[in-house]
Symmetry: C2
Subunit: 134 residues, 2 copies
Amino acid sequence: MNIGEAAARTGLPAKTIRYYEEIRLIRPHRAANGYRSFNERDLHKLSFLARARALGFSIEDCRMLLALYEDETRASADVKRVAEGHLSRIDQKIADLKSMRETLSELVEACAGDHRPDCPILKGLSAEPARMPG
Amino acid sequence: MNIGEAAARTGLPAKTIRYYEEIRLIRPHRAANGYRSFNERDLHKLSFLARARALGFSIEDCRMLLALYEDETRASADVKRVAEGHLSRIDQKIADLKSMRETLSELVEACAGDHRPDCPILKGLSAEPARMPG
DNA sequence: ATGGACCTTCCAGCGCTGGGAAGGTCAAGG
DNA sequence: CCTTGACCTTCCCAGCGCTGGAAGGTCCAT
């Protein structure tokens, strides 16, 4: 099938599929007219990529996971290692965001949000953030 | 002072400071020899930017916040609106990451992580993710 | 005069698309 | 047979927010 149908069936934009081919994640055949030609195997790989990307795996993680997916002799430990690495990166991001959220919401709550110029948010951004007042 | 000292005192890399000038967030003077020359006001703005960026504000948010910071007649409501917008983006990101984390950790926990090829993580990525089995 | 630390500009790249131009190909309809 | 329009192709530019490197100018100490 052509790229349009592959896009429709995997939910990935055609642009993204071309990009995945460019970076050698997939290697669809070419028809005589030069069009990419996708088989069921390609579709599976694309769907796999779509799900892995939706879980936030980097492209390089995806490349590794796809290789393991295709390797019948893999050890599940190898897969698990990749996933655990990603999990800890997610945890780190969540922690960072929560910390930002904490600071920011304190500032927002302290701000009257009216017509006056006095603003704790700007004060907080212009001064070294004071530590817990206690 | 030169860019090196400005970098040391704000904690921002010199490259980043040059970039901020390029996108017109700051406009340091130039000395006769062509070197950028930073005054205290520039330093304050750079520190402000460093803190705003550390809280995850986008460059465009920073541009807006900096303009409000410099405008003595601002309304704190305008600042608050920017901050609240950012706060809700943070909340959305946290929610997304938590959702990823949830799915991923279920898969990781189900994986034996041994020498055998059987792997629930790969299975989960290759099949339509099953909804709660209940 | 020389060395090295500093400064300058410009160019390219990261991951991951998205947008759009310019052009080839195909199937259907007049 | 020719046109229309949907599809496909490649290529290049843009964006985020820097970051790296190359090539070269400036300054200061020795």
